[in-house]
Amino acid sequence: MLDAYFTGSVPQLIERSRELTAKIPRNLPRAYDALAQTARSRLNNLIAQFGSLIEDQRLLDKSLRPERLRKFKRLVSELDTLEATAILALRKAQDEDHRLNDLLERITKEIAYPAVTPTVTTLSRDYFYIFPEFRLLFVPLVEGHFLLHLPDLYHELAHPILVEENDPIIEPLQHSFSKCLDECISYVQYETQKLQRRKSPVRSEYMLGTWERSWIRSWLSEFYCDVFALITAGPAFAWSHLHLAIKRGENPFVVPTVSASSHPADDARMRVLLATLALLGLRQESIDIQNAWRCFTGSLGVKAEPEYFWCYPDELLKKISTYAVSGATQIGVHVFSPSEKGTVTSVLNAAWGQFWTHPGSYVQWEKKAVEKLLEAKC
């Protein structure tokens, strides 16, 4: 059955890959060249790999059926992902995307971003996210018309840096990440040992195991991306975090008890941002943001349980801030200065200033500022 299935479906998948190659537009601005080339080369590679599923004589051996099936599934997943991300983004690219690509190019130059500038697409279905493999950054359809969430672009820029391989320029940040992760794991393991000595309930030990998995799998990378964004975008990123938490956040003190969570608690993220603002010497901004955050969390009707402070102790969060600042500055990114003028970052920070000082007229101000930022440059 399996041989017949592959004989029928593989040529169809090869044809699908060829069709997708034909769908790559030929008339896009240069900002899309890298993405188009990546897509084209991945499709060619997929065509060769699909072919090997029916041409490689070794794979006809019955003992290799699991390997052959797993390979088939991996290739289909890659084709699906390519079609739904890179090819779709290229196919649907329009003026809105072009303007955001110009903006991101300016941002990466301003902050001395040490990697290839990603391509932006406005096809996001879920806020901001990035596919490091294709260097493709998704933002919501009309996000380019507004300023207050744009500091999250800087957070997304950090994700590819953490997984980039064999780049000595970027390695200091990755090494600091690794040392910091050791600190996080050591903390959880020390707490676990204390529990074991006290013969505490197994449930608590299980919960600590969940925290350890969360730190390793995702939490620390989120904290690092936050600190990278704060260093490069300034206080505007912390305001943006507050903005997102008010609009879409859940309980900011949530702690996972059963299965690992992908994102750390919003309040813990803000505590790291506040510690980083203090490290950067932006004390007044830190006070203003902390007051606004306390007002927000105090209005939610929820409070932090003891487990929250156990999971995210102050000392550990401050260490994360210190390690991440050290790593980011070692890779040479431009650190935000309140005195800078004429940069995208300065406009994003000015937007938050305007939002708080003149909330009633902010929308009108923002329209003009966006027009100036995207069309006429700063």
């Binding site: 003992s63 290799l64 390997e67 901001f128 997984v163 690794s178 390793i216 990378s221």
Partner: protein, 116 residues
């Protein structure tokens, strides 16, 4: 707030190592594996990095393997891959376990990336 960015960078790594393990398994099962195979050496290098993680992807891998709960001795597996001329049935079993674990992890990550 999305899981996509978080997982998509690591997904590539998981997928590529999974492909490497399958290549080594194929040679081992067909009795054509040797310590000079480039795939075997690449896999040994990757697994050695996971055994002593120094960055985000290798730490992630290390956690995935730890979660297998099989007590797999990664350092011993690396040494076998580097030095043994042929791979024993026990080593093939270890590699099969790794392959199926990574396949589960790959599909789990893919679901997260697609917002499911």
């Amino acid at each position: 707030m999305s899981d996509t960015g978080l997982y998509s960078g690591l997904y590539t790594k998981v997928r590529d190592v999974a492909a490497l393990i399958d290549e080594v398994l194929m040679s081992a099962k067909l009795g054509s594996s040797s310590s000079t195979d480039s795939e075997r050496n690449k896999l040994a290098t990757q697994l050695a990095a996971v055994a002593a993680p120094t960055d985000f992807p290798t730490n992630y891998f290390s956690a995935v393997i730890k979660d297998m709960g099989s007590g797999l001795d990664l350092k011993s597996l690396v040494a076998t891959l580097q030095t043994s001329q042929s791979l024993s049935q026990a080593v093939i079993c270890d590699l099969e376990l790794l392959a199926s674990t990574l396949e589960s992890e790959r599909t789990r990550m893919l679901s997260k990336m697609r917002g499911r």
